[in-house]
Symmetry: C2
């Protein structure tokens, strides 16, 4: 039976005829180092247990300036990539006795700023952030004050801080390379807006690299930024445009799961068939892909590993901060895997 009643340190101290100080020390495992006798320690422990004492987190936080909570900001917790990431982060932090506060920034710069302020204000001990912003202004303050945080998924090339990412460029490169090796030459790429986000930039870069390596000329006409609010409509529009122009590519590389979903829908509704009429490879692996007809070849991100690494770095930073040592920024770049299914036609 879970109760909401409060037993305070003072209650225990009173009942035992000792001071709050002593009780506090014992319950924080500092009994020995403060020379509290074994017998007394035992008495305290027992009573605390039997009275079901739980320290008041506000009082503790107020005095110690920390909350045992960490914050996670992603663009949208209902996006399967982020919800799986959040789950892994939750598991990882709770193993270390921390709690997690998950927030969705909704790709809004304003909201992201507000959430950051809110988390700081709630005195979270650290933040894991997949940032929507184009500039680094908002995190420079944190950086300057040695506030522990890790950038995840989306990063800034010109800003030196803790980061955990996937090799987006290589992942995209391998995806497009795979398409080319199947004989394709007319290959389009869809990235999602806002196009400044590093994942999208890098994935587009990887696409270009692959084409270059195989000496296929780049074509602006095949590189599209899809507005995230109307993916389906935009893809429909682009496809019909290509069709009327007789410029239909034979394959599309799609830079995330959301564009993939919209694209699959659009392709189907326009009566095109995968891979006969058009081949497709997506970044992000979601349940849908393995069950789609045909199953969609995609680039898998090591979500759990991203989460674990980010949490490890963050907690290290939090610990180091306590010892007031200097913080060394660490970067982790994890590898993706391509899972080949049947969405790419073997040409010629």
């Amino acid at each position: 039976m879970i109760k909401n009643k409060k037993v305070s340190l003072a209650d225990i101290a009173m009942a035992l005829g000792v001071s709050k100080t002593l009780v506090s020390m014992v319950l924080n495992g500092k009994g020995d180092e403060n020379g509290i006798s074994k017998k007394t320690q035992e008495r305290v422990m027992e009573l605390a247990e039997s009275m079901n004492y739980k320290p008041n987190q506000f009082a503790r936080g107020l005095r110690m300036g920390r909350s045992n909570t960490i914050g996670l900001i992603v663009s949208d917790i209902s996006n399967p990539f982020y919800s799986r990431l959040a789950r892994s982060v939750e598991d990882a932090v709770s193993e270390s006795g921390y709690n997690l506060m998950i927030c969705s920034s909704d790709e809004s710069e304003e909201k992201e700023m507000k959430l950051l302020e809110m988390l700081i204000n709630k005195q979270v001990d650290g933040i894991i952030l997949s940032s929507t912003l184009d500039s680094t202004e908002h995190i420079e303050g944190l950086q300057n004050e040695n506030f522990p945080f890790v950038l995840i998924d989306r990063i800034y090339n010109d800003f030196e801080t803790n980061t955990v990412v996937v090799d987006n460029k290589l992942g995209a490169y391998e995806a497009v390379d795979f398409i080319i090796n199947n004989g394709h030459k007319k290959i389009a790429a869809f990235v999602i807006s806002p196009a400044h986000i590093s994942t999208q930039v890098d994935r587009l870069e990887g696409y270009k690299d692959a084409l270059k390596k195989h000496s296929i000329p780049l074509n602006q006409y095949y590189q599209k930024v899809i507005p995230r609010e109307e993916i389906y409509q935009t893809v429909c529009q682009i496809l019909t445009e290509w069709k009327t122009d007789h410029m239909m590519p034979t394959a599309i590389f799609v830079a995330n799961n959301q564009i993939a979903i919209g694209s699959l829908e659009a392709i189907r509704d326009l009566g095109l068939s995968i891979p006969k009429d058009i081949s497709i490879v997506s970044f992000d692996d979601i349940d849908l892909f393995k069950l789609y007809s045909p199953p969609i070849t995609s680039v898998i991100q090591p979500i759990n590993s991203i989460a674990r690494n980010a949490v490890e770095i963050l907690l290290d930073n939090i610990k180091i901060k306590d010892n007031s040592d200097s913080l060394i920024k660490v970067h982790k770049c994890l590898q993706t895997n391509i899972v080949v299914r049947n969405s790419v036609l073997k040409l010629g």
Copy 2:
């Protein structure tokens, strides 16, 4: 630029040559009712703004006994149903100035208890809970102490408290009724373990009701509880068993999105075709269903409405509690919608 530095009430008071009390009152909008002059109020507001004052949440929480945070416990935030629900809850609470703490209980009773204790201990102002437990012991304590909480999605029939659910029985009834109206007689139902969860009980109930209404005899052989850890394997097993027994049903009603995913995979891997060999209708609508070949008929839950209702009830309870009025338990039962696609064969 977001900073971590702390400006306290005392800083502002000092700078202005007034008391902390005054500053606190003004910033909490209680300037007028405490007769603080307009001029002074303005001076305080301005300085607070320019010094970027943010009240310390620990101090505030310690004094006032509340956190402006509410807790949400679901079984797994990476389940698309719950991640969408969580997103809606997040939006709803933040509109009222609350923050949200999302936790996954992992269908573990022990973990759920721990999370509840943790949230209480963190002094969340209220909890929205989709409980995994079979008994109500863990929430009786909360109830007795008038701690605000709302049961969502999964409820207890014999326990009177705030609830927001969907009419699972009717939703399932309509789904199975639809199947029957297409001429099916041999209809199986899959529910997920643990089978005591109210959603699963009610959906199975709805299935039975539909069969009864159409005078189709019930058959235990067609009612299966699928262990959530190995959905795919179990469904494969069941299907092959039915096949060898020459008892293959013509349709399956599947009680949630997870079983649906596993079942679709199993059906495909066993070389069966939907709806020719077997028809299927699922509870929960996920992206996959509209894109699957054939698109899967399913029962849509009004996720946003569930979230909004739960939040509204919870916040009402929190307010009422402040006024120490008595709490009236409210129940909301929302309607589902069936979206007909092409996964059910028209027979005879």
